[in-house]
Amino acid sequence: MTQSLNYLKETASQTAGPYVHIGLAPGDAGFDIYAQELGRDIAGPNAEGQRITVTGMVTDGTGAPVKDVLIEIWQANAAGIYAGAGDVEEGFRGWGRVIPDFDTGKFTFETVKPGPVAGTDGRMAAPHLNLWLVARGINVGLNTRMYFDDEAGNASDPVLNLIEQAHRRDTLIAKGDDAMYHFNICLQGIDETVFLDV
């Protein structure tokens, strides 16, 4: 016998199920209950930097759209600062919830383009959004990132460079220009997105 370490165990995840919107976005479930739904404005009204629009779709292993997904976004501001980690514009939270159209599975959201973020080791991460996906059939929420194809910093980004198969790095890079970007997320299959254990 040895002494006990006495750590607690993290509560196990369970799928968010098909009705996640009731809890996290009741307006999308079809009813009005809260004075203010959280996560409806990622950047807030005072955010500096380039306003961008992102469109896309999440697909499953058969190529069908995942219409009941809920995506959370977490991002730095245009200066590369996360809310809570330094001074940001008033009203900038850098967090939001994205819900696709239930009939088509297509999503659209607006935010500002984040700046490069300094890592704890001093290396710079290229501008990116952090994404967390939950849905029916997803047992543990999936973390991934969205980078921008017009950023030179992608070539030296520490996370993109960790991806062994170079062609799979493209699954994390949104295509676009002129403030409109397109980003699909593929849960399974030949174009499967790189997901992260963070």
């Binding site: 165990k9 509560t11 098909p18 809890g23």
Partner: protein, 239 residues
């Protein structure tokens, strides 16, 4: 930014692919997850305050009531949000959602024949207090059938969403009720490989927290990932 987190124990959580839960077959990544040592992108996270929510938001008996109380067994759900070091997680957002007492969700995509309750929305939210405590008042949700096998029934459950202080602590899970025979038969529950992890999702009947002649109570503690110690590292933030 917080200090790095303990690695998530992927053998404790359900695997992405749990074939008896059919929907996971087409929605589970086949490639290995890319493991990252925590970067500022994951060790930061959104925070919320009392300006974001209303006091009534944690009272599901009242937050959607139109003409009276919802139908069903009145219950108190309470507990603490702790981390793996058993430290309370204060001021963190806890959101719940559930079916009504008949097992019907208020959602435009739910068409189960059990009736909608005009006085029940089915969602609530609150912030933990300085000791990590939270409380909700609601009705006990009903079991309901779902399309997995031809005769599959979900045990009564409440969905929980919790934040913590780092985006990498983000967690969604489901709380079950002590004594429910459907728990052991549910493919979603059984996606969890370790029975001890299942037991941790079952809220205990807590007679001490009941309100006599009013509401019965269940206690459910939620554990988020713990912060790694930074012994011998020059990090001013410590744990």
């Amino acid at each position: 930014m917080t200090s790095p987190l303990y690695q998530r124990d992927r053998e404790w959580h359900p695997p992405a692919l749990a074939p008896d839960y059919k929907t996971s077959l087409g929605r589970s990544p086949k490639n290995a997850l890319l493991s990252l040592d925590g970067t500022p992108s994951e060790l930061t996270g959104p925070t919320f305050g009392h300006n974001d929510i209303d006091a009534i938001d944690n009272d599901l008996l009242r937050n959607y009531a139109k003409s009276g109380d919802p139908v069903g067994e009145r219950i108190i759900l309470h507990g603490r949000v702790l981390d793996e070091n058993a430290r309370p997680v204060p001021n963190t957002l806890v959101e719940i959602w559930q079916a009504n007492a008949g097992g019907r969700y208020r959602h435009k995509k739910d068409s189960y024949l059990a009736a909608i309750d005009p006085n029940f929305g089915g969602c609530g939210r609150t912030l933990t207090d300085e000791n990590g405590y939270y409380t909700f008042r609601t009705v006990k949700p009903g079991a309901y059938p779902w399309r997995n096998w031809i005769n599959s029934w979900r045990p009564a459950h409440v969905h929980f969403s919790v934040f913590g202080t780092a985006f990498a602590q983000r967690l969604i899970t489901q709380m079950y009720f002590e004594g429910d025979p459907l728990i052991a038969k549910c493919p979603i529950v059984k996606s969890i490989p370790d029975q001890r992890a299942v037991d941790q999702l079952v809220a205990a009947l807590d007679l001490n927290a009941t309100i006599p002649l009013d509401s019965i109570a269940y206690k459910f503690d939620i554990i988020l990932r713990g912060h790694r110690s930074t012994f011998f590292e020059n990090r001013p933030e410590g744990n």
